[in-house]
C-alpha cells in the first residue's frame, strides 16, 4: 500500500531530489559521507523541515508531524531507551498508541522470536552486545505495525560476518512483513545483498536509481562508476576513427583504442583490476600498452594497489598480492602498463 514519492526535495546538501519508492520495495541509498543520504531519511520521516513535497500514496505528508506519518525509523546510533527493558523497548510504540496488552505481548513475542532475542527480553540495553542491540532496535522499529521503515546504516557498527548475517535476516523479515523500506548504507556491497534497487547519491543529487546489477554493469555517470570502484577516469579527446569499429582517443599523452559506436567520447573509465602491470615487455601487439613509472605501492590484504604515472595520467592498478610480490616492484621503477580494451567504459559529453 505505501508508495513513497519525493518531489523536488531540497534540504542541506539535497538539491531538487526526485525519488519514487514502490510499495513493498526495499531501496538502498548509497553514497559517500555527506552526500545527503540520512537527510533523505529525515525528510521522509518529517524530522526536519524541507522544501518540496513528500507523498505517501495519494496523501501529501508535508504538514504531518513525524509521529503521525506512520513510519518506523532505525537510527544509526540505535538509541535504545536505556531505562526500559528489551521487551519494553519493543513494546514502546504499541504502548503509546494504546494497543491492548494482549496484542502488545503477542507482537513482542513474535518479533523477539523472529529476531532471536527472546532470552534478552528482561535485560536492559546497557548489557547487550552490538548485534543484540541492533536486533532489538529492528524489532522496536517494526513493532507498531508500520508499513514504511527507514534504516540508517543498519549494520555499520557490526563486524563483517555479523553484519552479513543480520542483513540477510533483515531482508527476509522486511519481505515477510511486506514493509516498504529505505535504507542508507555507505558501501555498495551489502546494499546489493538486500535491496531491490539502489539509489546512488552524490553531493545531494541522485545519480542513478537502478537494480544492483545495472548499477554495477551499466553505471550512468562517472560519479557512479567512481563510487563503485573505478577510480581511473580519464578526460579524453577523440583523435581518429580506426577501421574495424575502433576509435583512438588521446587522454593526456596516452593514446587509447576502444570500441567505437558512433558517439562522442570525452571520458573513459578503467577499472583498476583491468590494468596489468609487468616488469618485462609483454608479448603481443602494442595496442593500449604503455610505459609508466611507479609512484606508490599500497599493499592491502589480498591485493596490492599500485599507482603508476603514464603519459601525464595517474592510474591505479590492482594486482593480486602474489603477483606484486613476484615482480618485486619498487617505487620509481619503469614498468609496462597494459589496459584491457574490452573492459574500457566510456561516457558521452557531460555538461556538469
Amino acid at each position: 500500500m505505501p508508495r513513497i514519492e519525493l518531489r523536488n526535495i531540497s534540504k542541506h546538501v539535497l538539491k531538487d531530489v526526485d525519488l519514487t519508492i514502490e510499495d513493498k520495495e526495499i531501496i538502498a541509498l548509497v553514497g559517500p559521507n555527506g552526500a545527503g543520504k540520512s537527510t533523505v531519511l529525515n525528510v521522509i520521516a518529517g524530522l526536519i523541515g524541507y522544501k518540496g513535497e513528500v507523498w505517501f500514496d495519494r496523501k501529501r505528508m508535508d504538514r504531518i508531524p513525524p509521529h503521525k506519518r506512520g513510519i518506523g525509523y532505525l537510527f544509526q546510533d540505535l538509541a535504545l531507551f536505556p531505562h526500559l527493558t528489551v521487551a519494553a523497548n519493543i513494546a514502546y510504540g504499541l504502548r503509546v498508541q494504546k494497543y491492548r496488552e494482549e496484542i502488545i505481548s503477542e507482537r513482542v513475542d513474535e518479533l523477539a522470536k523472529a529476531l532471536h532475542i527472546e532470552r534478552l527480553k528482561e535485560r536492559y540495553p546497557r548489557s547487550l552486545s552490538g548485534g543484540e542491540k541492533q536486533r532489538v532496535a529492528i524489532a522496536r522499529a517494526v513493532a507498531p505495525f508500520k508499513k514504511i521503515l527507514l534504516l540508517d546504516e543498519p549494520t555499520s557498527s557490526l563486524d563483517a560476518q555479523t553484519a552479513k548475517y543480520l542483513r540477510a535476516e533483515l531482508g527476509t523479515l522486511l519481505r515477510r512483513l511486506e514493509i516498504t523500506a529505505v535504507f542508507v548504507i555507505h558501501d555498495l556491497l551489502g546494499a546489493e545483498e538486500i535491496a531491490d534497487r539502489i539509489a546512488i547519491i552524490h553531493k545531494g543529487r541522485i545519480e542513478q536509481v537502478a537494480r544492483p546489477e545495472e548499477i554495477f554493469f551499466d553505471p550512468k555517470s562517472s560519479v557512479v562508476s567512481e563510487f563503485i570502484g573505478m577510480p581511473n577516469i580519464l578526460s579524453c579527446v577523440e583523435s581518429r576513427i580506426l577501421s574495424s569499429g575502433l576509435i583512438e582517443v588521446n587522454c593526456g599523452a596516452m593514446r587509447i583504442v576502444l570500441p567505437y559506436e558512433g558517439n562522442t567520447i570525452n571520458k573513459i573509465a578503467i577499472p583498476p583490476h583491468d590494468i596489468y602491470i609487468s616488469d618485462t615487455k609483454p608479448p603481443g601487439p602494442a595496442l593500449n600498452r604503455y610505459t609508466g613509472q611507479i609512484l606508490e605501492i599500497i599493499p592491502l590484504r589480498s591485493v596490492a594497489h599500485v599507482k603508476v604515472s603514464v603519459g601525464g595520467n595517474t592510474l591505479l592498478a590492482e594486482l593480486s598480492a602474489d603477483t606484486a610480490a613476484e615482480m618485486n616492484l619498487e617505487v620509481g621503477q619503469q614498468v609496462y602498463v597494459i589496459v584491457k580494451l574490452r573492459r574500457l567504459r566510456y561516457f558521452e559529453s557531460e555538461g556538469r
Binding site: 520521516a45 509521529h67 525509523y73 531507551f81 514502546y92 510504540g93 503509546v96 540495553p125 522496536r140 522499529a141
Partner: protein
C-alpha cells in the same frame, strides 16, 4: 605523596573545616538546655514551619523548573538566552537584595492590588514561600536543564517515529531519564530553602509563632546574645538537613538499569 593521596587530602581538609566548626558548637552545648529548647513551643513551631515551607517550596520550584528546563534545553525560541541568564539572578544578587526586590514590588500599585484583593504576602507564611521560591527556582531550573542537556534528543526522535506525541515522548522518555538530575535538583532546592535566611526575613519578618523559620530563630537568639540557645538551634538545623540529604543520597545512589 601520590596524586591520588593529594587529592584525597584536599577533600579531607574541606571536611575538617566543616567538622571543626560543628564541633565548636559543643563548647557551648548544654545537654539539659537542648531538650528544654527542643521541647519549647516556639522552637517546635520554627522546626515545623521550616520543614513545611522548605518542602512546599521544593514542590513548587521543581514544578516550574521541569517544563522550563525542558524548553530551554530543547527549543530555540526568542528570548531563550535572556531567560537562561536571568536564572542566575539568585546567585549574583544577595538574598537580602532579592527580598528587597519583593518588598519593593509589593509597594508598587500592582503589588498593592495583589495584597489588597488577593493574598497578603508580606509578613506572612506566603512571604516565606515566595522568598524561598525566588532564591531556588533559578538554580533548580539550571540543574534540571543540565541533566536534560545530557540526554540525546535522539531518544525523543525515536519515540516520535514510534508514534509518541511530543508530550508523550517527554513524559515517557526524557522525564524518566532525567530522574537523577531532578532528584539532585530537588535535594539542593530543599536544602537551600531550609537554610534560606536573608530573603525570608526581609519579606516575611521574624515574628515568633508566625514567620520565624529555624534560620530566622537562630539569628534572633544570636541577636539577643543567647549563645547556648543559638548552638542548640544550629545543631538542630545541621542534624536535620544533613540526615535528610544523606538519606536521599543513599536512596538514589543505586546504579540504574542493569
Amino acid at each position: 605523596m601520590t596524586f591520588k593521596r593529594l587529592a584525597i587530602a584536599f577533600s579531607i581538609c574541606i571536611f575538617l573545616v566543616y567538622a571543626g566548626l560543628i564541633l565548636s558548637l559543643f563548647y557551648f552545648y548544654k545537654g539539659s538546655l537542648f531538650f528544654d529548647i527542643l521541647r519549647s513551643e516556639r522552637t517546635l513551631f520554627s522546626l515545623k514551619l521550616s520543614l513545611m515551607t522548605a518542602t512546599a517550596t521544593t514542590v513548587i520550584s521543581i514544578f516550574f523548573a521541569i517544563p522550563s528546563a525542558y524548553a530551554l534545553s530543547r527549543y530555540r525560541f526568542f528570548g531563550r538566552q535572556i531567560i537562561d541568564t536571568i536564572l542566575e539572578l539568585p546567585m549574583i544578587v544577595s538574598p537580602v537584595a532579592l527580598g528587597a526586590l519583593v518588598l519593593i514590588f509589593f509597594n508598587t500599585p500592582a503589588g498593592t492590588l495583589i495584597q489588597d484583593r488577593g493574598v497578603q504576602v508580606v509578613f506572612t507564611v506566603y512571604g516565606i514561600l515566595l522568598a524561598q521560591f525566588i532564591t531556588t527556582v533559578g538554580i533548580a531550573t539550571r540543574l534540571i536543564k543540565a541533566a536534560m542537556d545530557e540526554i540525546p534528543s535522539r531518544y525523543e526522535d525515536v519515540a516520535k517515529t514510534l508514534g509518541a506525541s511530543p508530550a508523550k515522548a517527554f513524559l515517557t522518555i526524557t522525564l524518566p531519564l532525567s530522574k537523577r538530575g531532578i532528584i539532585a535538583s530537588s535535594i539542593l532546592t530543599w536544602a537551600k530553602a531550609l537554610g534560606e535566611f536573608g530573603a525570608t526575613i526581609t519579606v516575611a519578618g521574624s515574628m515568633a509563632m508566625k514567620t520565624e523559620t529555624l534560620p530566622v530563630a537562630i539569628f534572633m537568639r544570636l541577636a539577643s546574645a543567647d549563645i547556648e540557645g543559638t548552638a542548640v538551634l544550629v545543631l538542630m538545623l545541621i542534624g536535620l538537613g544533613l540526615s535528610v540529604l544523606y538519606g536521599v543520597r543513599m536512596f538514589t545512589n543505586r546504579q540504574p538499569y542493569v
